[in-house]
Symmetry: C2
Amino acid sequence: MISVAKESDALDRIASDLRVAAFLFTRRMRLESHLEEVTDSQLTVLLHLSRVGPRTPGQLAEFERVSAPSMNRTVNVLATAGWVRRVDDPADGRRVLVEITEAGDELARTARRRRNAWLKAQLRHLDPDDRAALVRAVEVIGEMARR
Amino acid sequence: MISVAKESDALDRIASDLRVAAFLFTRRMRLESHLEEVTDSQLTVLLHLSRVGPRTPGQLAEFERVSAPSMNRTVNVLATAGWVRRVDDPADGRRVLVEITEAGDELARTARRRRNAWLKAQLRHLDPDDRAALVRAVEVIGEMARR
DNA sequence: TATTGTTATACTCTATAACTATA
DNA sequence: TATAGTTATAGAGTATAACAATA
């Protein structure tokens, strides 16, 4: 029974540390983003659209794991700013496709570079073992988040 | 020059993947927290106070990497709910200490258990190599966030 | 004058509930 | 009746600027 308790304690420790690290890391990245035109969440949607092409609001919400109204607001902001446009789906009158504009695509590229600059500088100084662990952990964390 | 470009591209890829993973993971954990009495940010402050004892609002803000007014709002919510109290520093009239109450300490313990449940279940199914990579990566990410 | 805490203000992110239009 | 999108509403988190009190 002792080993079961130890195992549970160890997992507890990892869980707490991981949660705190992810939380602080997310905040720190937002701080180091130096974005002016869009917020972090907005840029994330923009980058997704840039990579995968037009998507419905519902698909975007599911992918980003947020509610439909929440995503709708983000799309509104992006559309008002001219980074995306809504296009009616000719095959189904209920559906709408959100499409990145040329200006949006341009912005996504430059903003992504700016946003990654700080993090890349951090990664450059890691030793190879740590970097390898990080790469594997990123996959694991991503899978857990999406499972 | 090619290898320099490759290195930069590789770092770019890791940076993007890490950012997305941390972002989604944080959202997913908030979703799986099942907290009613406090939000995620509030509980984080509560747990910190529970671990390290009374701290000034300024110290809390610095530790959590948020602005002083932002932390002040969080402390206000916690104080109104009775989870913490403010105590004047007798040695320096400008300073205030934020102290967790007994009820707050009790809440912190039970809420922490509830919040970790989902994540622990995920961790339990990882194979040992992945878990080791995760542990090391958590240290690395935490250091980057706080550097 | 410098430091610590707080208030004022404004904006983003988020969710649930309700509503509209189409299938 | 079910689905997709949207609007209405409300609350939390965040920052900058301004203010108050004390050292």
